[in-house]
């Protein structure tokens, strides 16, 4: 059932965007060209789909953390973070100008950087602090799911460095800390067991 919580601000839902990726059909295709939130949603769904394919290729879809809880968690967060959110002020050269970045644009950027790491999918991406106040200290919280086999500490450190560089270039936020939490490890399946005839009656 479609609930208000499922819909983005433009009225479309992740389910509709997912169906569009599968079928190429949506009620108002022209809308997709004019909606940055739908575009960010489609990009995230494509990357999630690629990770899903990677898992299927590795035959781990039914292993490790089991069903698709991790993917559902990611989709739940995606639904929240595709909204424009708060407006982040930027310095203007003319005092009569007001320049902003949307919180959603920065969250989508963080998500795309995290998703660009092999075997990694971003879950929750949050900007904590008063991002509407220039110079306020901001903490970035990012949760990721990682396919088993990737060194988690190295992955987290590399992601933290990449995010720090990217946020310094693409925003004017005063980033105090970037916290990376690995919330899911998508494990490889255990090797198939050879039947042990000695234990059998």
């Amino acid at each position: 059932m479609k609930t208000p919580g499922d819909a983005l601000e433009c009225g479309h839902s992740l389910a509709e965007l997912s169906a569009y990726l599968d079928t190429g059909e949506i009620a108002d295709p022209a809308h997709l060209d004019s909606c940055p939130e739908c575009q960010a949603g489609l990009a995230s769904l494509r990357r999630l789909s690629e990770l899903g394919n990677e898992l299927l290729t590795a035959d781990v879809a039914e292993a490790g953390s089991g069903g698709d809880d991790w993917m559902q968690t990611i989709l739940d967060n995606l639904r929240l973070e595709l909204r424009p959110g708060r407006s982040i002020p930027l310095r203007a050269e003319d005092p009569q100008d007001t320049l902003w970045e949307t919180e959603g644009s920065v969250s989508a950027l963080i998500r795309s950087v995290a998703d660009s790491f092999p075997g990694t999918a971003a879950g929750k991406c949050r900007l904590l602090g008063d991002i509407t106040e220039p110079g306020a200290g901001i903490t970035v919280d990012v949760e990721i799911a990682v396919v088993y086999g990737h060194a988690m500490e190295e992955r987290a450190a590399a992601l933290r460095n990449e995010l720090a560089k990217m946020l310094q270039v693409q925003t004017e936020l005063d980033i105090q800390a970037i916290n990376i939490t690995v919330t899911d490890v998508l494990e490889l399946p255990a090797p198939a067991m050879t039947p042990n005839t000695e234990d059998q009656p």
Binding site: D97, W100, S112
Partner: protein
């Protein structure tokens, strides 16, 4: 607003659209006032199929208010691109009193 002024305003909005699109780093210009936030605009669009201008223009007490919502897709920093878009709008307007608002709605890595 008279028909003449509306036509002039639409022309200026189109000109400013070209100005903003020409700024290095601007990858997209989105409707400044999303249709779902404008009941009247949505109704008109639904009936006529016409799209509202991507650049929003209003005038109050002789001062133009311009609003642009952009996507940024280049190695150039998004804040710099936003400033350059505002500056390009001002250059195009010359000495016309104006307040310019630029909103970055999408940043491509």
């Amino acid at each position: 607003m008279t028909e003449h002024v509306e036509a002039k305003s639409a022309t200026l909005a189109d000109e400013l659209l070209g100005v903003v699109q020409a700024v290095e780093g601007v990858s997209a210009v989105y409707p400044a006032q999303p249709l779902w936030q404008s009941v009247a605009g949505a109704a008109v669009a639904a009936v006529t199929g016409e799209q509202l201008p991507l650049i929003s223009l209003t005038e109050q007490d002789g001062t133009l208010a311009i609003k642009a919502r952009i996507g940024v897709g280049s190695p150039l920093p998004a804040p710099k691109v936003a400033r350059e878009a505002a500056a390009a709008i001002r250059r195009h307007l010359g000495n016309v009193p104006a307040v310019v608002e630029v909103l970055v709605a999408k940043i491509e890595a």
